[in-house]
Amino acid sequence: MTEARIVELKNKANDIRIGIIDATHAAKSGHPGGSLSIADIMTYLYFEKMNIDPTNPKMADRDRFVLSKGHTAPALYSTLAHRGFFPVEDLLTLRKIDSYLQGHPDMNKIPGVDMSAGSLGLGISSACGMALAGKIDGKDYRVYTMLGDGESEEGQVWEAAMFASHYKLDNLCVILDLNGLQIDGPITEVMNPMPHDKKFEAFGFHVITIDGHNMEEIEAAFAEAETVKGKPTAIIAKTVKGKGVSFMENSVSWHGAAPNDEQHAAAIAELKERYI
C-alpha cells in the first residue's frame, strides 16, 4: 500500500467509526466498544482485501466474512454501508422494528452478510463450513471470521479450531479481537482464556500477532496468511476497546451501552478531528 492509500483507509475507518456511533446512538442500544475496536481491520478487509461486489452481494466465488462476535454488528453494517451494499443513512434504523438491520447479523435480510451469527462460538464453525465447501468445490475464495476474545471462552471455538486444523483449511483466516474486556470485566479476571497464541498454535494454526489498529501490520498479516499452506491462520489483533472515542476507550461500561445525545455529539466531534 502507498502512504496515500493508507491515509485513505484510515479516513475510511473513521467514517465507519462515525457510522457505529450514529447507529448505536439512534438505536439507543447496541455494542459500540467492540465495534470500534475492529473498525480498522473491517476497513482493510472490505476496502482492500476481500474479493466482493456490492452490486452482487451473493457473487458465487466471493470471499466470505463471518462476524462470529455478532454483537458488534454496527461495525459490519457501517462497513457494508460505506462499501456500497446499502445506504449509509439506513444505519440510523439499526435495531428498529421495521428495519432490516437486526441486532445481530442476518444473512437473509442484510445485503453483504454472509452468515447469520452472534450467538457466541457459532460463527467460527460456520466459517469452517464455508472454507470446507470451498475446498470441496475447488474454489479459491477465502473465508475470514472475527472472534471476540471473551468469545474464546466458548468451548465451540476450540471444537472449530480442531476442525479447521484437521481439514487443513488454509483458506480460513480467524481474527481474534484481543481488546481485553468482556461484559463482566477484564477477560483475565472473568475467565482467563489466555494465551491465545499458544492455544491456536497447539490447535495447529499459523499464528500472527499484530497491532489491530496499524494498517501496515494488518496488511502484512493478511498477506502472510495467504501464503500459509496446509493449515489455517489465526491473527491475534491487539486492539483497544472503544478505539477512537477517548471516553469509550478501555472501558467495560461501553461494551453494551449506547451514547446519549451529549455523548454522541462529543464522540462525533472527536472522530471528526481524527481525519487526516
Partner: protein, 313 residues
Amino acid sequence: MADVKKIATREAYGAALCEFAPKYDFVVLDADLAAATKTGMFKKAYPERFFDCGIAEGNMMSVAAGIASTGKTVFASSFAMFAAGRAFEQVRNSIGYPHLNVKIGATHGGISVGEDGATHQCNEDFATMRSIPEMVVINPCDAVEARAAVEAAILHDGPVYMRFGRYACPILNGEDYKFELGKGVCLADGSDVTIVATGLMVSIALEARELLAKEGISARVVNIHTIKPIDKDIIVKAALETGALVTAEEHNIYGGLGSAVAEVLVENCPVPMARVGVEDTFGRSGTVPALLEYYGLTAENMAKKAKEVIERK
C-alpha cells in the same frame, strides 16, 4: 407379525443416502457415530463427500450451516440426544434462523435405544425440534417411509429434522408407497376411535386395532410421519368421524405428537383424547421389548386407553 420383514429405520437412512447420492448434490457429516447412525455406508461409498466432525455435535451443526450457505445440501447425523439435545442451540441459531438446507438425520431416537439407558434415550427431540420456527420434523414408521423421507427432505427447501430408530421394526408400506411431506396416512379405517401413531408405535397401533376388533370395537389407525407441519385435516376428520383419539409415540407425553394432536383438537374439534407415551420420566436400561412393556408402549395399553376415551364420548 413374526413373518414380517424387520429393518431399523437407521439402516434405511444409510442406504437412502447412498441411493440418492448420484442423483442429488449433498454432503454428509457425522460426529464419530457413523457406524451406528449408518452414515458409515455413505462414507464407504462416497468418501470424498463425507466429513467426520469428531465428538463435537455443536460444531458439526454450525459447520453444516456454513457449508449449506454456499448452496449445498448437507446431512448432519448423530444420535437424537446429541442432535436435538446438546446441539439444540446450534440447530436453532445456525440452521433454523437462516433457514439453511441442513437435513438432520438423528438416529437412536426414543426409548428403543435399549440397553444404553436413560442418558442416550431421547424422548424429548420432537418437543425441542418442533419448537424451532419452520423446522420440519419427520419420524418414519418403517424402512420404506424412511427412504422416502430422505428424498422428501432433500427436495424440501429448508431445515428438516428426521428421527430414525435403532431397533428393527416391521415393514408396513409397499414399494409403491407415496410419501407426502406433512400428510398423515390412514392405514386402517375404523369408526369408534382413532389411534394416531408415529414411528415404531405405528405397527403396535395396528396390533392394538386387532385387540379392539376382538371386542367389537372399530379402530382407525393413522400414521403421522410428519410431526411438523402436522396434518390437521386427517386429525380433524378422525375426530369428526370416530369421536375419540389416542396418540402413541416413543416420546415424553409432553411436547411431542400427543401435544401436537391436542393442539389441533382443542382449536378445531375437541373430542375425548388420551396419550400413550413416556409419562414424564427418564428411560432405563433393558431390552427393547422389556422397555416398551415397562413404559406402556404396548398394544394392550393403547387398547385400554382407546376404551377409556370411547367411554368419555
